[in-house]
């Protein structure tokens, strides 16, 4: 591991000033991904700015009826928060489905959004990777890609975003707030992660040196009946091979409102607007749910070894929406 300077920030402005626009510096939150990548040589910062003691550890209701979540709230504390469990249950479920109890106690909301892909070529510095070394190539296209992207990928990169938390955040129109030397800014989560295109190394739209200060969830009454379902290769403590955050409001047998986001299928949490358009105003039946899934997955371009994900996601959409509708009817 490269030697590095360590500074502990006392306030947000101080943290941003300490980091400056130095591309060799990193903010340190829980460190569960960053320290691991530093050991692997993927990350080689010259300075860490520790932000764990910043006063960003609160979850508060907004006057409009949403939630404001501080960037240093741990995954464990956010999952346990009564208002998250009441008003956005899919978010609590997604957090609880991620990592292990120990890691959830360390990991923070800001760090979760910034975590890097677990593509084995990205994390192995002896292999080419366009995300790690732009222009070096992508061995996953011809190699191990059974858990890679089926939506929105490019010839340069087919890696998936690993976050569970970000999937319901995308479904619920979360907004990421950040601070820069020039003042505060914000980005809707769906714009926070740009399309891969030709620049897989550019993973977020954050300005250089920006510090994520929190996430705002707008009020979403539909989210009170929501669910996160994660499919993985073992029952616990594994990354998703496909996941779904869904919320459904059925009135008189007709879908009044639906929110869907897919996980582990793209370089970013995949908000399923095409599926939502099919669902809204349609009869709440398995046929509608299947048509919605098909509308979203029409854009899927699977690789030779991950075509199973198309069927997996279709089945997941139908199963979870059916469960939500049955739950509403009880």
């Amino acid at each position: 591991m490269r030697e590095f300077d360590y500074q502990r920030a006392a306030d947000v402005a101080g943290a941003v000033a300490l980091l400056g626009a130095d591309p060799d510096s990193r903010y340190l939150g829980g460190g569960t991904n960053l320290v691991d990548l530093m050991k692997a040589g993927v990350e080689r910062p010259a300075r860490l700015v520790d932000i764990r003691e910043l006063p960003l550890d609160r979850v508060e209701s907004t006057p409009e009826g949403g939630l404001r979540i501080g960037a240093t709230v741990t995954n464990a504390d956010l999952a346990a928060h009564p208002e998250v469990r009441r008003r956005y249950p899919a978010l609590a479920q997604a957090l609880l489905a991620g990592a292990s109890g120990q890691l959830r106690n360390m990991a923070t909301v800001g760090g979760n959004l910034l975590q890097r892909t677990r593509c084995g070529y990205f994390t192995d510095v002896t292999r080419p990777c366009n995300k790690r070394v732009p222009g070096s190539g992508c061995p996953a296209l011809e190699g191990e890609h059974h858990n890679h992207a089926i939506l929105g990928a490019s010839e340069r990169c087919v890696a998936v975003h690993p976050s569970d938390m970000a999937v319901p955040l995308a479904a619920f129109d979360a907004v990421v707030r950040f601070e820069t030397a020039d003042g505060p800014g914000e980005l809707p989560l769906t714009e926070f992660y740009p399309p891969v295109g030709d620049t897989p190394e550019r993973e977020t739209a954050l300005p250089a040196g920006a510090l994520i200060t929190g996430v705002v969830l707008p009020p979403a009454p539909v989210a009170a009946r929501s669910r996160y379902r994660k499919v993985r290769e073992r029952a616990s403590y594994a990354f998703a091979i496909g996941s779904l955050a869904a919320a459904l409001d059925v009135r008189g047998g007709v879908v009044h409102e639906a929110r869907l986001a897919l996980g582990a299928v793209a370089s970013r949490p995949w908000r399923a607007h095409a599926a939502e358009r099919v669902l809204t105003g349609a009869p709440a039946t398995p046929e509608t749910y299947a048509a919605a899934a098909d509308a979203e997955l029409a854009a899927a371009r699977p690789l030779p070894h991950n075509g199973y994900k198309v069927d997996l996601m279709r089945n997941l959409v139908v199963a979870v929406l059916t469960e939500l509708a049955e739950e509403a009817a009880r």
């Binding site: 340190l28 050991k39 346990a80």
Partner: protein
């Protein structure tokens, strides 16, 4: 700005203070084992995947292999050496002994520290990924074997002593001494 690649830190471990210079690259795990001869905490994968290095940080279970020692300054660190009450074993330790919750024993300190964290989290009413009804109104789920398995999934045991580990955690859960029987309000998890 002056930069430095090492610092003198004071770590609060098991009620004692230790002041030592550390290279910033030093993990808490390596500081405990190599610098402070607290070798009860074990190094397994060193990648945050096996749980052998689990310690309690401000009462919460964490993996010490991904925790930089310099960033642990000012926090209360409890290792396996500090969980007993003098000569009286912690109820989780006693339950692991009574029910043979191990074979080779290498993962055991991490299993025990993790289980202590689990019992506190459960006593606070925190749900898990297998909790059917996570609404706060539903109250804490019964600590079934399924709940224990899910909550302990961050601790691997290569000997496969899981059956007895689950039994030991369930037994310890019945002992009010195991959780400190703290009642926690909604504000505390905010």
């Amino acid at each position: 700005m002056a930069t430095s690649t090492s610092s003198v830190v004071t770590l609060h471990i098991n009620g004692e203070k230790f002041t030592l210079p550390v290279d910033h690259r030093t993990t808490l795990l390596d500081a405990l084992r190599e610098r402070l001869t607290l070798t009860g905490t074990k190094k397994g994968c060193d990648q945050g995947q096996c749980g052998a290095c689990t310690v309690l940080l401000d009462g919460r279970r964490t993996v010490s292999c991904l925790q930089l020692a310099v960033a642990a300054e000012g926090r209360e660190i409890t290792t396996i050496e500090g969980v007993a009450d003098g000569d009286r074993l912690h109820p989780v330790q006693q339950a692991f002994l009574d029910l043979d919750g191990f074979q080779c024993g290498y993962c055991t300190p991490g299993q025990i520290c993790s289980a202590i964290g689990v019992l506190r989290e459960h006593a606070e009413g925190r749900p898990s990924a297998v909790t059917d009804d996570i609404r706060p109104e539903a109250g804490p789920p019964p600590l079934t074997p399924e709940e224990i398995r899910e909550r302990m999934s961050g601790n691997l045991c290569r000997c496969g002593a899981y059956v007895a580990i689950v039994d030991a955690v369930a037994k310890a859960a019945a002992d009010p001494r195991a959780t400190g029987a703290a009642t926690v309000s909604e504000e505390d998890v905010a």
